[in-house]
């Protein structure tokens, strides 16, 4: 009997791998766009000017406060009412990008805040201008501090990409579910899908752990 499961698995695998590819593509694209947008939000949320800061902080809080599922469905099912109709792939990328940007902004800001105060004092005592301190002392170290958390978040976004099945995006979970619906062998196929997800997330988490240790050594 075990061998028959493996047989089925090898039969289903090609479709699942197609789905996995879509999952990875959607994740990768969302991360690139989301990290970039997140840095912009980090800057805006730290601005001295209330006019800039308040809306930015508000957007970030909304982005972080709503479940990713809601963001996905709002973008795909909801926006057409407002005249913006997107296909499943772009909609998923947009939703995940916005979520990523919101979390990234806070992760980066926390990293910047974590730079030891003593260094800011030393920099000030040396006569370095505030702009120089931000540019050369706070930002390089702050980003370094934020990096492991950002990497951890990237893994999270990959997990969240599975929610796009509810939009009909042909990613990994979608493929697994439709095979399940056709064969009624839900457990077997979902197990395989789960293993594929774990095959990415577990090694990735381990790498992030290693990175964290290496960075802790230097700072």
């Amino acid at each position: 009997m075990p061998s028959s499961i493996l047989n089925d698995w090898s039969g289903w695998l090609p479709r699942l791998l197609d789905g996995l590819l879509v999952s990875l593509q959607v994740t990768g694209l969302s991360l690139v766009l989301g990290f970039s947008l997140g840095m912009v939000f980090a800057l805006l949320s730290s601005s001295r000017f209330r006019v800039v800061r308040r809306p930015s902080v508000l957007l970030v809080e909304v982005g972080r406060g709503m479940p990713a599922l809601v963001m996905l469905q709002l973008v795909y099912f909801g926006l057409p009412s407002a005249g913006i109709t997107l296909d499943t792939f772009p909609a998923t990328v947009l939703a995940l990008t916005l979520t990523t940007a919101a979390y990234t902004s806070e992760i980066i800001r926390a990293g910047l805040r974590a730079v030891p105060a003593g260094q800011l004092e030393a920099a000030g005592a040396l006569g370095l201008s505030k702009a120089d301190v931000t540019r050369f002392i706070v930002t390089p170290q702050g980003l370094r501090i934020a990096l492991p958390t950002l990497m951890g978040f990237a893994i999270l976004i990959f997990q969240i990409s599975a929610l796009a099945f509810s939009l009909g995006l042909p990613e990994l979970l979608s493929q697994a579910y439709s095979i399940g619906a056709a064969t009624f062998r839900y457990f077997d196929i979902l197990l395989l899908a789960g293993l594929l997800y774990l095959a990415i997330t577990i090694p990735a988490s381990w790498l992030v752990g290693r990175l964290e240790k290496r960075l802790a050594m230097h700072l």
Partner: protein, 212 residues
């Protein structure tokens, strides 16, 4: 505005699911934690693997495995039960890690002092280490509770009648499908904000300076 009523009425279900899964997770998390710290290498490794799997698998995939995979075969699981098991186990894994971190944060000297005083293992953990570890763990637990609140939206996909499923129904029924989702989003934010505020207050009051 007629959208708000029914969606808001589902909020207690969302809160109920979150609270129940949190409770399950808080208890089972301790089981996983003791497994992780067991003297037996086999139990330790097994616990680590279970925790890694539960934290590495997308929650929705695990939920589907529990509901469609297990829960529609020999054992029939109601949506709420499946949600409890699925999100409860995932919570257990995350909380086990939070507990583990909090124990590490307690000064080694506390344990040694207890030993030197001749306090037994149970007393040491319950009266000395435990309370100190809890102070460190609570902010982390609140943070997880907030995540869980958002993850609870997933259970709409297996049929639990909480905020998202009502919002979905509403969107399908009425013409405008943007409003229900916006309302849902706002309700989640409204539910989560007091928790976030609580977390910040707790962190300040408990005087916890986090390691990175």
């Amino acid at each position: 505005m007629e959208h708000v009523g029914p969606i808001l009425a589902a909020a207690p279900v969302t809160l109920g699911v979150t609270a129940a899964c949190l409770a399950v997770g808080a208890l089972l998390g301790m089981v996983l934690l003791s497994g992780r710290r067991s003297r037996s290498w086999v139990v330790r490794t097994l616990s680590r693997m279970v925790i890694d799997v539960l934290r590495g698998i997308p929650p929705i995939v695990f939920l589907f495995i529990v509901f469609f995979g297990i829960g529609s075969g020999a054992i029939r699981l109601a949506p709420f039960e499946a949600a409890l098991i699925g999100l409860g186990l995932i919570s257990a894994a995350h909380l086990a890690e939070i507990y583990r971190g909090s124990l590490l944060a307690v000064n080694r000297g506390q344990f040694e002092a207890s030993q030197a005083l001749g306090l037994g293992r149970t007393t040491t953990y319950v009266r000395v280490i435990g309370p100190q570890a809890m102070r460190v763990a609570i902010p982390g637990m609140v943070t997880w509770a907030i995540s869980l609140l958002k993850d609870s939206a997933l259970v709409s996909t297996i049929g639990v009648a909480e905020i998202m499923s009502v919002a979905n129904q509403d969107a399908r029924a009425s013409g405008s499908s943007l409003t229900p989702f916006i309302v849902a989003a706002l309700i989640y934010i409204a539910l989560g904000t007091p928790l976030a505020f609580l977390s910040r207050c707790l962190e300040r009051r408990l005087g916890v300076t986090g390691g990175r």
